[in-house]
Homo-oligomer: 302 residues x 2
């Protein structure tokens, strides 16, 4: 998010400023500086506190606000989704996986530490996410269980991890658009949608249609996010991305631009953004930050 | 466990027969044969269904029985602790960690599949454990949360994973007995104790002194288990262990036999076994399987 608050993104920028400050403080608080293995806690903090767009936590805060919860109630799930995201990046970057040396302009975790430490740091970020949801924050038991359920299901063998497996198996192969969409839905979309669902659950209100709308919104912006990622991998420079651009082509990955062309990819991202915004049209000003976030996702340049 | 039911282990063998049958069926049921990434579910099943002593699930069943719960209520946590154990083995066996080719007499997961698949299969076994506790079985909300809390805390950065980190950092270094005990308490003991605690929680009874006694029992047999493991690494043959014997010496690891000598190690294991059995002495015949398990742990030869 640009720090210049343009009128187009005013509501979003306001939420972002508050949410990012809350998140960084909560991450610092909930990631142990000391533990039974200090090298491990250092690596966890290195991986999770090194910046990033923080889109998923922002979605938790945005959905919590829309659902009528105080932002403080969103701190724990915001940290939890970011830790799941951070764990997945640490493991995906490993030499046996995507073999990336740079992440957010910094050496990846296994480069800054070593492979064994990175594997374990990913593992403990992963456990810590569930530990936070199980042990921290002030929620009714039923809400707490819903939070854990939705995060587990989004992250596991029918979610994010399956998407990463599909992504690796597809390298060097020509894919259909449908297969590419499924892979991205699993790898990225499910955690994005879960972020919105977690924001809903912290409000502890029974509003199934809001939950359904947030789910639909999440599914649409998740795919739009990935299409934009593919577009940026073609059009942006390495220093802009904080990771090597052109990496999809290097790995012979099918992408939306390679299958649909650049212009049609941009059009599909715009359609998804419109569809997402439409879903929340009935909720008035409280939905504005999320609607602007949908717009931001397809216009961002890094 | 020997299939010959000796009189010494009669109660244990009876529980073992029932528990193992329940566990294998529950593992098969709760590990997806198909998923969004079939290679991933195959690797998960390969890692979790390839046998093993199943000590941790047995502890869940034993504690559940002692606490007065029907064994069926222990199925889900028994599977969950075994999946956490299986995930940790898959990751510990990786080339960047302990670099083991054999596990339970079979190729390790990264040898049977590949490193990337093994990393992801470990990850999804990990997530699946929490998903089971969050979504399956019939428990009151508060009990479900206690189950998740105790498993998270035992597995994470102040538990099992920290123990693995300490273990790797200690390679090639002379350790004190106290440091060695702490490492094993974290790496093995905490999950063993959590298994007993999970068995307690499925009974859904409020009996803090039973919980405390099971915790003390678990802490003692966890350490005894590890001392026996160290002893077997010196005294047993590779085919008996299903993994290379002498591997501690190869990795220049401090062990109980290397620090205390063989005889004193055996004596310490016996003391811990006595102490564990004493803790459950007041519970009568329902505690017999667990008490015999303590005995088995220090007399097993594989």
């Amino acid at each position: 998010m640009s720090s210049k608050a343009t009128r187009e993104f005013a509501a979003l920028n306001q939420l972002t400023d508050t949410a990012k400050a809350r998140l960084e403080q909560a991450l610092d608080h909930y990631l142990p500086a000391h533990s039974a293995a200090s090298r491990l806690s250092h690596a966890m903090r290195y991986a999770a506190l090194s910046g990033g767009k923080r889109i998923r936590p922002l979605l938790v805060y945005g959905a919590a606000q829309l659902a009528g919860a105080p932002l403080a109630k969103a701190d724990v799930p915001a940290v939890a989704v970011e830790l799941i995201h951070a764990y997945s990046l640490v493991h995906d970057d490993l030499p046996a996986m995507d073999d990336d040396d740079l992440r957010r302009g910094q050496p990846t975790c296994h480069k800054a530490f070593d492979e064994a430490t990175a594997i374990l740091a990913g593992d403990t970020l992963h456990t810590r996410a569930f530990e936070l949801l199980a042990c921290h924050g002030d929620y009714r038991d039923g809400s707490r269980i819903s939070l854990i359920q939705h995060l587990c299901q989004a992250a596991g063998v029918d979610g994010m991890a399956a998407g990463q497996m599909q992504d690796m198996l597809a390298q060097g192969q020509q894919q259909t658009v449908a297969a590419l969409e499924e892979m991205h839905y699993l790898k990225t979309g499910r955690l994005i949608t879960a972020s919105l669902q977690l924001g809903y659950f912290v409000a502890e209100k029974d509003d199934p249609s809001l939950l359904a709308n947030l789910t639909e919104f999440g599914d649409a912006i998740g795919l739009a996010f990935q299409i934009q990622d593919d577009i940026l991998d073609v059009t942006a420079a390495t220093e802009q991305l904080g990771k090597p651009s052109g990496s999809d082509e290097k790995l012979q990955k099918s992408t939306f631009p390679s299958l649909l062309g650049l212009e049609q990819s941009q059009q599909r991202a715009r359609q998804l953004c419109d569809q997402a915004q439409q879903t929340l049209a009935g909720y008035g000003p409280r939905a504005l930050p999320l609607q602007q976030l949908a717009q931001y996702i397809i216009t961002r340049n890094h």
